[in-house]
Amino acid sequence: MAGELLICVPGQRLCLCDKVYTSGQGTYERQGYIYSQLAGYVDIVEKDGVKIVEVHTSGEQTVVPAQGDIVTAQVNIITQQYCKCYIKCIGDAVLRRPYRAVLRREDIRATEKDKVEVYKSFRPGDIILARVLPITEAHTYQLSTAENELGVVIAHSEYGHPMVPVSWTQMQCSKTYVKEFRKVAKVVPENINQQRLIKRAELVTE
């Protein structure tokens, strides 16, 4: 990626905004031109004959959760009606400051919603994958785990040992073999090769 990089700073005029070029992430349009919003490098993505001009930061970007985002959250408090959690990552982006969110009982599962019990789905300390629901008047984010791929990914048993999933409703402690109920996520690696790369990266850095 070296050499050909187009560096830009906020407010820099990038190109005309016409039928071919449209404004994408990290840019905005004003009076027929596309301008950059960020300090970073320009990336042009071609999609259906349209070129989307995007700007990516070289460092961390400042993002807040938006509707439809898949987020990683940590469960903090559970009650009979809902559980409160902290959003820690949006997609791949790690947040420096966690955001509060609520996961209501009826949003835990897609089917048999009235039979769901919060304490049989999540426990404080669990790491979950969830989707952000449309933002309402309420101030905290609302999450949903009503998809197969969403739910608990990392959990510890009552004795503090890590647990492994045994079914989509149960997890087992790796030390004591006690089974506990959870709304388990079916984790599909986005890119298996990428994971292998990361493993190697960890080895190298060690």
């Binding site: 990683t72 990552c89 994971q195």
Partner: protein, 274 residues
């Protein structure tokens, strides 16, 4: 991926590194971070210094003012240290009155100044029971990345050594003071306390000069302040218990580091005197 792991399971993330005898920032367990000291950079103060320990940055400014000595100690001046942790230095802090942490640290620093006797309050007296100097020593943290006491003490010593006080003609019968700004004198410094901070991780691993993450995750923290070869003060607010041998080991480690810091302060002062 590593970043996510760090955010979700910080303790495990650390343990994975510590098993391999290395810390996430690449340091060995007993390795201290590089230190930088810059003195006399703020000329509106009577003495100043900026100390950096790794990324932790502390600015220390000393301002001298006139005051009347206390009746019970008529021959002594005052040293008033205060540490400020502004919201600028870390997202943990809010603006407003000093947090508990700032108050605790301020008290530690005040104790160290008092016990090390680096400045004799008697030197600050101009005329007994009538006039004395009050040194306001203000610390401002610009970047909060652990081992704050170490940085504060280093900044303090750098700043104290640059303090110059103007000469004063005092006429006690008329209560007349006349300050001669041209004639400034250095403050006598009697000793140089040097502090070193360690954290205890999982009750057994000892890490020197912790970063803020390490301070947050540790099970115990200990700050050792030395004055030359003598022990000046140890601050260990609870946490994991220590055996006697372990304690002596830390003291030995901080002793080894002391000459280094001493040299640094001398070198910084030499630069400015040139």
């Amino acid at each position: 991926m590593a970043e996510q792991y760090r955010s979700l399971h910080p303790i495990k993330y650390y343990r994975d590194y510590l098993v391999h005898n290395v810390r996430p920032d690449g340091r060995q367990f007993d390795k201290f971070r590089p230190v930088i000291l810059n003195v006399g950079s703020i000329d509106t103060a009577d003495g100043s210094a900026i100390a950096k320990v790794g990324r932790t940055t502390i600015v220390c400014g000393i301002k001298a003012e006139f005051c009347r000595p206390k009746a019970e100690t008529p021959d002594q001046g005052f040293i008033v240290p205060n540490l400020e942790l502004p919201p600028l230095c870390s997202p943990k802090f809010k603006s407003g009155p000093p947090s508990d942490q700032a108050q605790v640290l301020t008290q530690i620093i005040a104790d160290i100044i008092q016990h090390s006797k680096c400045v004799d309050p008697k030197d600050l007296c101009i005329f007994p029971d009538k006039l004395a100097w009050c040194l306001f020593v203000d610390f401002i943290c610009l970047d909060y990345d652990g081992s704050l006491v170490d940085a504060c003490i280093m900044a303090l010593m750098g700043a104290l050594r640059t303090v110059t006080l103007p000469s004063v003609d005092y006429d006690p019968s008329l209560d007349n003071k006349l300050v001669n700004l041209e004639e400034r004198k250095h403050l006598p410094i009697h000793s140089t306390p040097i502090s070193a901070t360690f954290v205890i991780f999982d009750d057994k691993i000892i890490l020197a000069d912790p970063t803020v993450d390490e301070e947050n995750l540790c099970t115990g923290i200990i700050t050792i302040v030395l004055k030359g070869d003598d022990l000046c003060c140890i601050h260990k607010p609870g946490g994991s218990p220590l055996t006697e041998e372990e304690l002596f080991e830390y003291i030995g480690k901080s002793k080894k580091r002391a000459p280094l810091i001493n040299n640094l302060i001398e070198a910084a002062l030499e630069n400015i005197n040139k």
